[in-house]
Symmetry: C2
Subunit: 336 residues, 2 copies
């Protein structure tokens, strides 16, 4: 447990370093914050903080910068949570009301706003349900032997897939099949569809199989549509100036799934993963702040900010939190 004074000191160091990206020295702190002690005292205290592992100096005779543990302490104990100014809330709200009334569009917009406000990358997944249920099914012929299977989920998400037919079907035939199946499958989940006993001819059975597969596929994390915005802002950070650093991050974000890179907090919480706490090596040096937003009937999605560990924590947390409540509000109204 740190003394009161060391806590304040750590807080100053983090705040300063986040702002300037420069190691923070004792003199500077005394002057800037009008501390009632001399720089020598501060130096003693900083040495203590270093012993505890909260700060390091990049080299002898440089100021201190926070370690991952330092940020962690800051986040847990020192950070005072901000709330967004009313006018900013209004501005953002306004941007949403100007946007089209589409779930996808909202997610994209949320990512864009988040990224631009925290000046880092943001990732938002569109709302989806853990157990997607069928709302509507349609078969549209592309040509005699090929049909498009269009599935609408209860969560107002539309999936499509192509189905090869074993013999020519007319559109009338397809429509008839779709109508029959629609009645049988309405509101059902993939598991329920597969469990259901039905008398089906082979074409119908193929469609049912495909529909069930589509439902199952819809909840696989890699298929969760997500929007990444603000990579530019990330590239602008001095941490990524050489570009090679970002390369690893990009690969981590593109290839493997975001799911592994981004922690999934419980509802209402904001998860903060700092630097070395990440399971992925490429994410060292990065902090991810993420939360989960939920809507009616199990619908949920994730909002995250990705940046260097040196990031504006209070502001980012406030933004993520606010965007989350906003998305939840929008979802409630949408599915009124």
């Amino acid at each position: 447990m740190l003394t009161e004074r060391r806590q304040r000191l750590l807080q100053y160091i983090v705040d300063e370093y986040v702002l300037s990206a420069q190691p923070v020295g004792s003199n500077m702190l005394v002057e800037k914050y009008h501390l009632p002690v001399s720089s020598a005292t501060i130096r003693n205290e900083m040495a203590a903080l270093e012993d505890e592992g909260y700060v390091v100096q990049p080299h002898t005779s440089a100021g201190r910068i926070p370690t991952d543990a330092g940020y962690r302490y800051y986040v847990e104990a020192l950070m005072r949570e901000e709330s967004l100014p009313d006018e900013l809330q209004q501005t953002i709200r306004h941007q949403f009301h100007q946007a089209a009334r589409e779930l996808e569009e909202w997610a994209r917009l949320a990512a864009a706003i988040l990224a631009s406000r925290v000046r880092n990358a943001a990732i938002v997944t569109t709302p989806h349900s853990p157990e997607p249920r069928m709302r509507w099914l349609e078969l549209v012929g592309v040509h005699d032997y090929l049909a498009l299977v269009v599935v609408v989920l209860q969560e107002a998400r539309v999936l499509q897939q192509t189905l090869s037919l074993e013999r020519p079907f007319t559109q009338e035939e397809l429509t008839t099949i779709a109508r029959t199946l629609n009645e049988a499958l309405d509101g059902k989940s993939a598991a329920e569809i597969r469990a259901q006993e039905m008398r089906l001819d082979s074409a119908e059975s193929a469609v049912v199989q495909m529909a069930a597969g589509m439902l199952e596929g819809a909840d696989v994390p890699s298929n969760e549509p997500s929007y990444v915005e603000g990579l530019r802002d990330l590239l602008r950070q001095p941490e990524f100036a050489e570009g090679q650093r970002l390369l690893g991050l990009l690969e981590a974000m593109e290839e493997r799934n975001l799911g592994r890179a981004i922690p999934a907090p419980g509802e209402g919480n904001v998860a903060i993963t700092i630097g070395g706490e990440h399971p992925l090596d490429e994410m060292r040096g990065c902090t991810v702040i993420s939360t989960r937003y939920t809507g009616p009937s199990g619908l949920h999605g994730t909002l995250s900010v990705v940046g260097p560990t040196r990031m504006q924590y209070p502001r980012s947390v406030a933004m993520v939190r606010y965007m989350s409540t906003l998305m939840e509000e929008l979802l409630r109204v949408y599915f009124a």
Copy 2:
């Protein structure tokens, strides 16, 4: 018009520079290519090439590197077009046959393969038609006052948009409206729909308006879904090592539309835009190689490779060309 020897020389310089990213000197050329003249002669010739504007030296006493004009000459006159080895063609073909039979998936895969083979970024737009036509329309209720309008285009593309209803509608009512409209609108373009005289109640009219709008929106370039792959590879190029260079490019590619950054060649041609030939400043230093692939009934899309001007032209052109014919073949079969 360059003499035969100077042409060869330019070709060597381009080939070498593309490979090594280092300025090319006279001695090196004589040795590596066993030229029947001395390095002094080569120096004279290179000075001449420099006068003509095809090469420059980054500083006195460095070798020469090609200018944009040099690359242009190379592309026009010197480059011998490669064709892809049969086995590579087979490999690629195989990758496509393993993929799902979806237009979107094909475009994504094409971008990924293109990028990985030329080690640069690749952009592929999904096939779309210049005048999209209605194939199918469906209305799915989300709740009493909200419905999803799902439109399937003839090109097997599915659009969705949300429609606010002025009074509560049951799903039966919605289905009836959709059925009526389907008959009236089948195969029609946005213009034809708007021109058509119909007796409609206000709900039907709202749906028709929205559908027409969706059709129109589908061909706006900014809505053309496109897949960008291989940004990693781009970042790996020494030209973009500092990262800030790429930043401009990323912005150009994200914000304004790709349409402006990417030339649209006539059918069957491969357009090559080199460095300063680009209208956008951010693209200086980059070459874009792109072609258009076409399918049945006016369907078309674009395949492009984006890289530094120092790029493997023959190989890239061959890849782009091959992927284009492959996409065309796939489209033909798909819409058989």
